[in-house]
């Protein structure tokens, strides 16, 4: 099977700025791949090289086996891109902009008209088809960018921060849409600042920092690399503090605060039953226990040494609560 993307040691410098510093990545066909990284990490630069808007300084980039420079036509034909910045022809009504885009990809006028209408319906702005881009609202503009990426029915759909500044409804519509496309076989490359989005959608994520790939893994595996926090409240503070979990190398630290015990360890969910048994054996009565799983966000911050935006909080969308775990308390910890 060919890979959707095969990137080897890709480099890009803008004068003194080394935007990409030897990026190697493989995106399998059919996958939903996330590209995460703080501002300026090089995500947009990476994508722009694939579609020919930025010239690489070194390395190799193949799109479905087609080199982005020597075989640029085939490479570009495979890609549908919804870029971070609006770059739309504002002279023509939006349905014509789509028809033109389809035409450049070799789709004859009659079929292009059908495709344009379909794409506009798909993102829910068909009733605006005769309007120019400038007259769309901000959210509709984002929708239009997706429609333009879809109109050529690309094998690889690239979304560069599609959910920046969009409301909850649009973000959900977008998630549904891309999930559906991915299920139908479209490979998806998504960049985002919203960790939750990556966690929910992606099979695999690459974390990019200062032009380098610092990690490539599934969101689950990445989370497994971080430590969990088990917080236990005892009925009474113990007279003497017992030695717990001796010899378990998954444990990073054990802290006591009177009647409260905080164990920091990898695979907290697996350690918890042992911990409960040991406390029981010491005759200590547990009144409350929480396991806070590491969020992907924490891993991300640790790996990139920088802050990220959180999804503008909508409580109903929180998802990473394991059965006996709650999400509480990340903010209080210092790393």
């Amino acid at each position: 099977m060919t890979n959707a993307l095969e990137i080897t040691n890709l480099r890009k410098s803008y004068g003194d700025v080394q935007a990409l510093d030897g990026v190697s990545l493989t995106v399998p066909e059919g996958s939903f791949f996330g590209l995460l990284g703080p501002n300026g990490a090089g995500k947009t630069t990476f994508i722009s090289i694939l579609v020919g808007l930025v010239r690489k300084s070194g390395g190799e980039a193949l799109v479905f086996g087609h080199d982005v420079e020597t075989d640029y036509r085939a490479a570009r034909d495979a890609i549908g891109l919804a870029p971070q910045e609006f770059n739309v022809d504002r002279f023509f009504p939006i349905h014509e902009v789509l028809e033109h885009k389809a035409g450049y990809h070799g789709i004859p006028a009659a079929e292009a008209r059908v495709r344009a209408a379909d794409a506009l319906k798909r993102v829910g702005i068909y009733d605006k088809r005769n309007t120019r881009f400038d007259w769309l609202s901000g959210g509709m503009k984002r929708r239009f960018m997706i429609a333009r990426a879809l109109v050529t029915e690309p094998e690889l759909l690239i979304l560069d921060e599609p959910s920046a500044g969009v409301d909850v409804q649009l973000r959900r519509d977008l998630w549904d849409l891309v999930t559906e496309l991915n299920e139908q076989g479209t490979t998806i490359l998504l960049t985002t600042h919203y960790i939750e989005e990556a966690e929910r959608l992606c099979d695999e994520v690459a974390i990019l920092d200062s032009g380098r790939v610092v990690a490539v893994a599934s969101p689950e595996a990445l989370k497994g690399r971080g430590a969990d926090h088990i917080t236990i409240h005892l009925h009474n503070a113990p007279h003497s503090r017992p030695q717990l979990l001796v010899g378990d190398d998954r444990v990073e630290s054990i802290e006591w605060n009177d009647d409260q015990l905080i164990v920091t360890a990898r695979e907290g969910g697996l350690i918890a039953p042992t911990l409960v048994r040991e406390l029981d054996r010491e005759g200590l009565e547990i009144v409350d226990m929480e396991i806070a799983r590491t969020s992907l966000e924490e891993i991300f911050v640790e790996m990139t040494h920088s802050g990220v935006d959180r999804t503008p909080s909508d409580q109903d969308e929180k998802e990473h609560a394991a059965p006996i775990a709650t999400d509480g308390g990340h903010g209080e910890r210092t790393q």
Binding site: R76, N87, K101
Partner: protein, 269 residues
């Protein structure tokens, strides 16, 4: 447009190239007030003032009324400046607002992209040339004499070659420009002087030998001369040589355009 679309679908024209050319043509055809009214009005003024008023004093040049003598030059002036302006503006505007990305990220070959811009701009130049010719012919034939077309083949060939040449130059201009003022500069300070000293309004024979030799360095002289040969059948320079040189120049400039697109000059970082 759909009748033309259907027609195009039956030709071997690549769809991508056809689409981009069509888009570029629609961009000015849909704004007739901007595209066609200005050359119409300007040239009615030119013919009235230079031709009718001034012409009454100048009398005849190379055996024809002055107004007829300047007709080819005015056609050339309108045609090439519109071809140049359209190509340079369209490319620069697309770069400025980044919608040229829609084209650049598409699977068109660089050659197709360039020729779509050239042909659409050249076509605008031709349309404007036809408008000016119509104005000129209307005025001249009602006030003076019928306008002859002695060598229709040369007339067509020269017109086509010069609008292609200036559309190609316009592509270079659109890629080189860094702001809108650059575009105005190119038109006002390079194109216009060349045209005005290109024997539009006077005959080379009226110049001193030195000035005449200097004038022959101006490519505009050959264009005006060629188009004039098409209408009047008199040439001050060999039309075949002129045509060959201009066609050669067009090929060279268009190749430079393709090379610039390939390198991404002004288009990619």
């Amino acid at each position: 447009m759909s009748a033309i679309d259907r027609l195009a679908a039956r030709t071997p024209l690549p769809v991508g190239f056809y689409t981009l050319t069509k888009r570029e043509i629609l961009r000015y055809v849909r704004r007739p007030k901007n595209t066609f009214a200005p050359p119409l009005i300007t040239n009615i003024l030119y013919f009235s003032v230079f031709g009718v008023v001034l012409g009454a004093r100048v009398g005849e040049i190379i055996g024809v009324p002055y107004i007829l003598f300047i007709l080819p030059g005015l056609i050339v002036l309108g045609a090439i400046s519109n071809a140049f302006e359209n190509a340079s503006f369209s490319i620069f505007h697309g770069r400025w607002n980044e919608y040229i990305h829609e084209t650049l990220t598409s699977p068109l070959s660089y050659t197709q992209m360039v020729w779509a811009y050239i042909i659409s701009a050249a076509f605008r130049g031709l349309l404007v040339g036809v408008i000016i010719a119509a104005v000129g012919v209307a005025i001249i034939s009602s006030l003076y004499q019928p306008v002859p077309v002695e060598n229709p083949f040369y007339l067509m060939a020269f017109m086509i070659v010069i609008v292609l040449l200036f559309a190609s130059l316009g592509v270079v201009g659109g890629l080189l420009a860094t702001d809108f003022d650059d575009l105005t500069m190119m038109n006002q300070f390079i194109l216009r002087p060349l045209v005005f000293f290109g024997a539009v309004f006077y005959s080379l024979n009226d110049l001193t030998p030195l000035l005449r030799d200097i004038s022959l360095l101006n490519p505009m002289v050959y264009m005006v001369n060629g188009v004039r040969y098409g209408f009047l059948g008199v040439a001050e320079v060999d039309p075949n040589l002129s045509l060959a040189v201009l066609a050669g120049a067009t090929v060279v400039v268009a190749s430079i355009d393709v090379w610039l697109f390939k390198r991404g000059y002004g288009l990619t970082d």
